[in-house]
C-alpha cells in the first residue's frame, strides 16, 4: 500500500501516522477505526467509523496532502447493524489499492465485509467462514484471508453484489462447489445477417466482420455464464435460411462454422426467426429458457403486421428475443423492430440495441448492453473482461489505473463494479444530469441500456467532481447538485459531500434497493449518525428538517439546501 500510482480520491492519503489503539491487529492502518465491542461473538454485523485527519490545504490529484492533525473527525460511518448497537470486533481491514473507495474488513464474527466507503454501503459479505477470520488483504488477483488454521483465497475475477460466486471457497473449505447465482440456463439461437448489405465498411473492418466478432463474443459470454448453456447459429440470407449449428455448448464448433461464410442474397427475417424457434424447440435440455438473438443489418421487407404475428407466436411459446439493429438505416425499420419487440416482450426479457456506425466496434458497444449481461443481474466474467479490454481501447472515459492488459481479472472486476454503481446511481442523478453524454449515442437510444449510459455519465461526473473538489475549483459542475458545494470552505465541502452522498443513497430506495439505503433512510439511524458528527446539532431545526425529508425523497435540491445548514453551524 505504500506506493500507489493512482489515487483518485485525494482525501485518502496514506500518511505514516500511528494508529490509534484498538483491538485489531492490522498493521497497515492509515485510518483510525473505532470498533465497538460485542457481548456475544456471534453477531456478524459490524460497524466501523472511518475518520480522517483534517487538512486545510488544497490537494491536486496524486499528491498526498500534508497531515495537520489538528483534529480527528469522523468521515464515514460504515454501519451494517440492523437491530442493535453491538457488533463483533474487527480483526483486520485493508484498502483496495486500485479502487481506494473499496475496503474490506474481517471480523471475529466469522464474516468479512467489503465496503464501498464513498457510498457507505456494504458491497459484499463473505459469510462462508465458520471460525473467526483474523486477517484479510487484497491481493493482486485475489483476496486473501486467514482463518483459524489455514489460508484461503478467493478470486476477484467476478464480483457481484450478493453473489458468492467466488469459486474461492473451493480452495478454502471443501472440494464441493459453491452456488453460483445469476446463472440462467438458456439455449440461444443467433441469427446472422450475411446479405449483400454486409459488405459495407461503415463498421470496421466490415459490417460482416464486426458481426462475426460480436457473435463469437456472445457465444463466449453465454457459455461462461453457465456451462450448460447452449448456443446455435443460423444465417438468414444467402440461398436461404441455413442452420449452421444447432444449439450446442461446444464453443469450438460454433466458431469454426463461422469461418468461410459468404455474403450474398437478401435476408429473410421472418423465416430466420421461425426456423430459429424450431431449432430451439428441438433443444436437448428442455429445462433451458429459449432465446433468439437477431442481427438486423439490412432493410426489412416484411410488413409490420407480419412481424407482430411472429412476435406473438414467440411470446406464446415463451421465447425471448434480442434484436441488434445496425447497418442499414431505413425508414420504418426502427418502428418495425419496435413493434416486433413489443409483441415479444414479456416482462422485459427481450431487448433491442441500436448500434450506429462509428468508431466503436459493434462488439464493444454490445458488451455493456443486456444482450451480454442478461437481464441486468450481472454479467458474466467473460463479458466483463471483454468490456475491460474495450475500456482500455479508449471507449470508456475512465482510467482504471490498472490496465486490462496487465491484469484482466482485476480490470473486469473494476468494470463490473463500475457498472453496478451506474445502475445504482441512475435514478437520482438522471434528473439533474444535463451534460453531454460522453458515451456512444447508440446506447442512449435503447430502452434498456439507457440506465447504464446515464450511470456512466454520473460516474464520470462524480469523478470530475472529486477532482474539482480536490483542486478547490469553485462551482464545479455536474450532477446531483453539487453547485452549492462550491460556496463552502474546503473542509466542509468534503464532509458535506460525504453526507450528501450517503443521503443520496437514502433517496434512491426505489431504483437501487439495498439494505444500507434503507438504513440511511431510517430517521433514527441518520440522527444517530449526525449526532456523532462533530458540529452537527441534532436538535437544530435544519437538521430535523433534513431528517424529516429523508425517506422517499427524490429532490436533491432540497437536500443540498439543508445540507448547507448543518455545515454552516460548524
Amino acid at each position: 500500500m505504500e506506493s500507489t500510482q493512482f489515487t483518485p480520491w485525494p482525501y485518502l492519503p496514506r500518511p505514516p501516522c500511528e494508529s490509534q489503539p484498538s483491538t485489531h491487529r492490522s498493521r497497515r492502518f492509515p485510518r483510525l477505526i473505532q470498533t465497538r465491542f460485542l457481548s456475544k461473538p456471534t453477531q456478524p454485523f459490524l460497524s466501523t467509523t472511518l475518520t480522517r485527519p483534517q487538512s486545510s490545504c488544497s490537494n491536486p490529484i496524486g499528491n498526498s496532502p500534508l497531515l495537520r492533525e489538528s483534529s480527528i473527525e469522523p468521515f464515514y460511518v460504515l454501519n451494517n447493524i440492523k437491530t442493535n448497537e453491538f457488533c463483533a470486533s474487527l480483526t483486520s481491514f485493508d484498502w483496495n489499492d486500485v479502487e481506494p473507495k473499496r475496503i474490506e474488513t474481517s471480523s471475529i464474527g466469522t464474516t468479512c465485509t467489503i465496503w464501498d466507503i464513498e457510498k457507505s454501503i456494504v458491497e459484499t459479505q463473505l459469510i462462508a467462514h465458520v471460525k473467526e477470520v483474523y486477517d484479510i488483504a487484497w491481493g493482486e488477483k485475489r483476496v486473501v484471508f486467514v482463518h483459524f488454521r489455514r489460508w484461503g483465497q478467493i478470486s476477484k475475477s467476478r464480483k457481484s453484489i450478493g453473489v458468492l460466486n467466488f469459486l474461492l471457497f473451493q480452495a478454502f473449505c471443501s472440494p464441493s462447489s459453491v452456488a453460483s447465482a445469476a446463472m440462467v440456463l438458456e439455449a440461444t439461437m443467433i441469427c446472422i445477417d450475411n446479405s449483400e448489405w454486409m459488405r459495407n465498411g461503415d463498421y470496421s473492418p466490415s459490417r460482416f466482420q464486426a458481426q462475426a466478432d460480436a457473435v463469437s463474443l456472445i457465444c463466449g459470454a453465454k457459455t461462461q455464464s453457465n456451462p450448460e448453456n447452449t448456443v446455435g447459429i443460423l444465417t438468414m440470407a444467402g440461398k436461404g435460411v441455413r442452420v449452421l449449428a444447432t444449439p450446442t455448448s461446444d464453443l469450438g464448433k460454433i466458431l469454426s462454422c463461422m469461418h468461410g461464410l459468404e455474403m450474398g442474397g437478401e435476408t429473410n427475417l421472418a423465416a430466420g426467426i421461425l426456423i430459429a424457434q424450431l431449432a430451439l424447440k428441438h433443444r436437448q435440455n428442455k429445462n433451458q429458457q429459449q432465446r433468439i438473438i437477431v442481427f438486423a443489418g439490412s432493410p426489412i421487407k416484411h410488413e409490420r403486421k407480419a412481424l407482430e404475428i411472429i412476435g406473438k407466436k414467440l411470446k406464446k411459446n415463451s421465447v425471448a428475443l434480442d434484436i441488434v439493429n445496425f447497418g442499414e438505416e431505413e425508414d420504418g425499420k426502427p418502428e418495425k423492430l419496435e413493434a416486433l419487440l413489443g409483441s415479444v416482450n414479456n416482462n422485459d426479457t427481450s431487448h433491442m440495441v441500436h448500434v450506429p456506425p462509428g468508431q466503436n466496434a459493434l462488439s464493444d458497444v454490445l458488451i455493456s448492453t443486456p444482450v451480454f449481461t442478461g437481464d441486468g443481474e450481472g454479467g458474466s466474467g467473460f463479458a466483463a473482461a471483454a468490456a475491460a479490454a474495450a475500456a482500455a481501447g479508449g471507449v470508456s472515459d475512465f482510467d482504471f489505473g490498472v490496465d486490462p492488459n496487465i491484469d484482466p481479472e482485476l480490470a473486469l472486476a473494476l468494470r463490473v463494479s463500475m457498472e453496478e454503481e451506474r445502475a445504482r446511481q441512475e435514478a437520482a442523478a438522471k434528473k439533474a444530469a444535463e451534460e453531454a453524454q460522453p458515451q456512444s449515442d447508440s446506447q442512449n437510444a435503447t430502452s434498456t441500456a439507457t440506465e447504464k449510459v446515464s450511470d456512466q455519465m454520473d460516474e464520470d461526473d462524480l469523478l470530475k467532481q472529486a477532482v474539482a473538489l480536490s483542486m478547490n475549483i469553485p462551482g464545479s459542475d455536474s450532477s446531483a447538485g453539487d453547485a452549492q458545494m462550491s460556496e463552502a470552505t474546503n473542509d466542509d465541502q468534503e464532509l458535506a459531500l460525504a453526507l450528501q452522498m450517503s443521503m443520496q443513497d437514502g433517496s434512491k430506495d426505489s431504483s437501487a434497493p439495498s439494505d444500507v439505503s434503507k438504513v440511511l433512510g431510517d430517521q433514527s439511524f441518520m440522527s444517530s449518525i449526525l449526532s456523532s458528527l462533530p458540529g452537527v446539532d441534532p436538535n437544530d431545526p435544519n437538521v430535523k428538517d433534513l431528517l424529516a425529508s429523508l425517506p422517499g425523497q427524490s429532490e436533491s435540491q432540497e437536500k443540498k439546501d439543508e445540507d448547507e445548514q448543518p455545515k454552516d453551524d460548524k
Binding site: 459469510i127 462462508a128 465458520v130 458468492l164 471457497f169 473449505c173 471443501s174 472440494p175 464441493s176 462447489s177 459453491v178 452456488a179 453460483s180 424447440k281 428442455k286 406473438k312 411470446k315 406464446k316 411459446n317 415463451s318 414479456n346 416482462n347
Partner: protein
Amino acid sequence: MACTHDHSCEDHDCSSNWSLYKHIDLSKVTALNEANPGSVKSVFKAWEERLNSSGEHLESNEGDPELLVYIPFTSDVKIKSISVVGGADGTSPSKLRVFINRDGIDFSDAQSMQPVQEWDLVENLQGVLEYQTRYSKFQSVANITLHFPDSFGGDTTQIHYIGFKGEATQLKRDVVATIVYEITPNPSDHKTRAETGGGLSHVE
C-alpha cells in the same frame, strides 16, 4: 364424462380425496401463454380453497384463450379424476386434452399430437364437477400436461383451480441426479484425510 356430487360435501370428506395437489412439484410447474409468469402456481390448492380466488389465478394472454399447463409430480401418481374451475363470462375453458409423461410440449405439438384423453368441459364455477379418467391409462403419471385449446367465447381463459383425485405411490419414474451447490460450505461436512485420521482406505 362428468359427475356431480349428490351429497353435501361437509359430510363426506371430499377434501381428502383431492389431496394430490400435495404431490405436485410446484417449483417446476410451468404454463405457456399465461399473462403473468408464475401465476399458474396459484391454481393448485386444497379443495376447500378452490373457490377462493382472492389471490392470483391463471389467465391467458389477451385475445388468445389457449393455455398449456405442465405439471410434474414428486412421485408417480394414479389419477382418478380431474376438476377444473374456470372463470365467469365465458372465460372458462371449453375443452381439455391431456398428455402424460411428456416433457417440453408446446402449442404446435399439443395441437398435432393425439392426447391420452380429452374432455368437453362445462362451465364449472362452483367446482362440483369432476371429469373421470380412463384409469388404466393414468396408472403411473410422473408429469401431466393439460392443454386448454379454447374458452366459452371469452377473450381470455381464466382458471382458478385445478384438482386431481387419485392416489400417490412412493415410486419415482426416473431418478435424475440433481447437482446441489453449497452456498455456505460447512467444513464439518467435508472431513479431510488429515482430520479423519488418514487411514489407508478412505472414501470421501
